[in-house]
């Protein structure tokens, strides 16, 4: 067991955890933030995407011990003051989710994209989102949702 200090969704945490766990396990099992999902545990599906020091990462591929001092944003921090964000609203409005299991990861990848590139082209979106798999929607409505969020006010 070792102590890790990190900031998650703006809150500082000191977590005592084994040295061999991933950031995903830390978030889900120690901070009880279960929005990031375990789809493959091998960095292949994107369902566990969080924003880690400003970049989208598969949190199953980051060791918790690496996260000392890290700033992490998860899906739980996306809605503010009891309201969904415009990006989240755009997902709802455009039917960009069905079963919802990939959705937190999708939204975090899209959030990271829009933070870095507020006006992405369709190709930019496809390139940025390629690592997030969805078996339900066929992706098209997700692209539309991100385009709409980019066109609207953040």
């Amino acid at each position: 067991m070792k102590a890790i200090n990190l900031t998650v969704n703006g809150e500082a945490h000191k977590v005592f955890c084994p040295e061999n766990i991933t950031l995903l396990t830390l978030l889900r099992e120690y901070l009880h933030l279960t929005g990031a999902k375990v789809g493959c545990a091998a960095g292949e599906c994107g369902a566990c995407t969080v924003i880690y020091n400003g970049k989208p990462v598969n949190s199953c591929m980051v060791l918790a011990m690496e996260a000392e001092g890290a700033v992490v944003e998860t899906i739980e921090g996306e809605a503010k003051d009891g309201k969904v964000s415009p990006l989240q609203q755009a997902f709802i409005d455009n039917h960009a989710l069905q079963c919802g299991f990939c959705t937190p990861g999708m939204i975090m990848s899209a959030r990271a994209l829009l933070d870095e590139n507020p006006k992405p082209s369709r190709d930019d979106i496809i390139h940025a989102m390629e690592g997030n798999l969805c078996r339900c929607t066929g992706y098209e409505p997700i692209i539309t949702a991100i385009e709409q969020a980019a066109g609207g006010v953040r």
Binding site: G35, G39, A42, A79, H95, L97, C99, R135
Partner: protein
Amino acid sequence: MSYIGKSIKRHDGVQKVTGRAEYVSDIKLNGMLHAKILTSPHAHAKIVNINTEKAKALPGVRTVLTGQEENTLVGIYMVDRSALASGKVRHWGEAVAAVAADTEEIAEQAVKLIEVEYEVLPIVFDVKEAIKPGAPQIHENAEEYDYIKGVFHPEPGRNIANRTKVRRGDVEAAFARADVVIERTYEQPQVFHLPLEPHGSIVQWGVDDNVKIYSSTQSPFAVRDLFAHGFGLPRNKVEVIAPYVGGGFGVKSGIHMEPLVGMLSKRCGGRPVKFIPTREEECTTLPARQGMVSRIKTGATKDGKIIAEEAEYLWVGGAYADYGVNISRAGAMTGCGPYDIENVKVDSVTVYTNHVFGTAYRGFGHPEVFHGIERQRDLLAKELGMCPVELRLKNLLMPGRKTITGELITENTGRVDKCLKLVSDKLKVGEGYTSQQLAEMKKTGKYRGKAATVLQKSPAMPTSSASSAIIHMNEDGTVHINVGGVDFGQGTYTVLQQIAAERLRIPIEKISVAPGVNTDMSPYDWQTVASRMTVLCGEAVCIACDDVTRQLLEMGAIALRASKHDLALEDEHVYVKQNPHQRVHYSKICMGYTYENGNAIGGPIIGRGKYIAQGLSFICPETGQGKTALDWTYGAHAVEVEVDTNTGDIEVLQMASCLDVGRVMNEAMLKGQVVGGVLQGLGTALSEVVRYDDKGRPLTRNLTDYKIPTFKDMPGNLDVSYVETPQLDGPYGARGVGEHPLISITAVIANALANATGVEMFDLPLSADKVRAALRQAK
């Protein structure tokens, strides 16, 4: 109508975009243990000995279980699968032993300490060999298994779990007088459903056999029924909860890991035990779609009328037939597609092999059958020098004619011809390219081609499969709908809200559908499968709304001192038709009405609705004749592809898909089903294949080796349209549509490939390496 057909947003959107939607893997219970399984490293082997002593001695291990100690047989149609392998293993990845421990890590360590001695047996991988006399048998005691007699027809001693036959007319005589006969064989590998959420389950088998199960399932009531049946428990002692479910596509129907996890919990004094399969276990322990080898022989006159068709469908059932026997049965019923053919012989056979076992997958056998059937139509057109669209139009089923199983097609059954014309006109299928375009193709080596295919599907379900709904009114006149079917993404609950808003004249935001299903509280629903929810559960909600309406009018009559006949509903009020200002808000009557002096009458309004398909029959075991279809949803796809003859890559430039949905209930969500289903079908067509080595060991155990379509694999442009021929017994005329977009995708791509390059390919997938090899061979 104000709500039907509108693109109402998902009922659960906020829960899902905020990460608050709770799936089984997110649930933690007090005292919960974690399970891991040891799986078979052989595709077919006798279990000689299992030693669990070292595993049991590991601190933190609470129980270790093998199939020799305790077991149960499970299966929804063919009860042939035990919770843990017993005596022998029949596929690589089969669960052999299980551990429950304080943590996942301890359980994983313990599993590694279990020693199993195997005696390897010869494997059976080729369905054609498997059914030959003398082939090694995968289930030696097949005749002892329980199944529905008269519905399924196993042939013990031949590795055959079921044979369904369709016989109509005289095929031999018709082939003899046909001008053209073509016969082809098509091979399709197993594919994975691959919902992103694995099959999670948590089971708490408490004192006095009270069992509580949390399961990622499409079928909470089937889980309850099969679990209780397997362990001899009364249904009221088993509670199954399906919280949010992260996709299924069929792989979460029936029953899966719940019995095993239940046995572990029972052995641990009723502590809850959680088991979440790894992605590798999802790919090797849990089922896939069956593979298939089909041989189809078609006879036609020279003017293009199909007069005979003979099909043999050999399904790669894998190690257990469980669900597979009903898939082969469904395949037989649809065996020649939506065509009017007088002479038909179909044999559809589920064959045991040492593959991972097969189960229901979106389309339930139809995508596999239609691959061969719709390839066959284009091959026949080519042979006859006809336009393939014309050939289809000449042979499609029209009102007044009968299906191959003798069902009469009426004006309201749906119009496959309209769907086909619509999509082929949109993409101008059948029209050639200009000489300039052709010259350009020759120069670049990128050849374009077009094709169109048709499709049909009806739900393949027991004749008695039922749905029900309960509607409660709350104090303020808002409404809760409670159903036993699962919304695992397809959007059923939103459609049910629309129906209730429409019928009860209440704004949709005042109607909620209780999320998740709990078999102790939700009304019964057979299973969420077969594209049956909008129709069967939708009808149940219609009837429950009518029950609520009747009660509102009764109470309104008291409150308004009017005859019920003078009353109607609008805008959350009961009002007097001739004096609309005389009205009473639902909130004043839905918990009972209180007179001015305090006397009260009535009570809470609760509506009840139930529905069962009318008039379905068993089929004749010899001829397959009978009525099995609740509804036939027809459709068609057209596509234009570009084939890079240098690399073998197929790019989908544009597509058009059209379905006769009866009635569009929610256009945006309907389009979501089509766009998602088409891309899933393109995966089957172009890249997806479950691979094994020569010892039957699976090679595709993760998402790197098994590729599903990504953002980069979307078709260029997908035009989605609908025909609306109302289904007389569907709510507002609607019929099922969830599975259909995936059907006939593989054939339309293969047909377009042939149109582009002249190269005919029969087997799947049409991956670049195989296409390139075929192009080279054709040169």
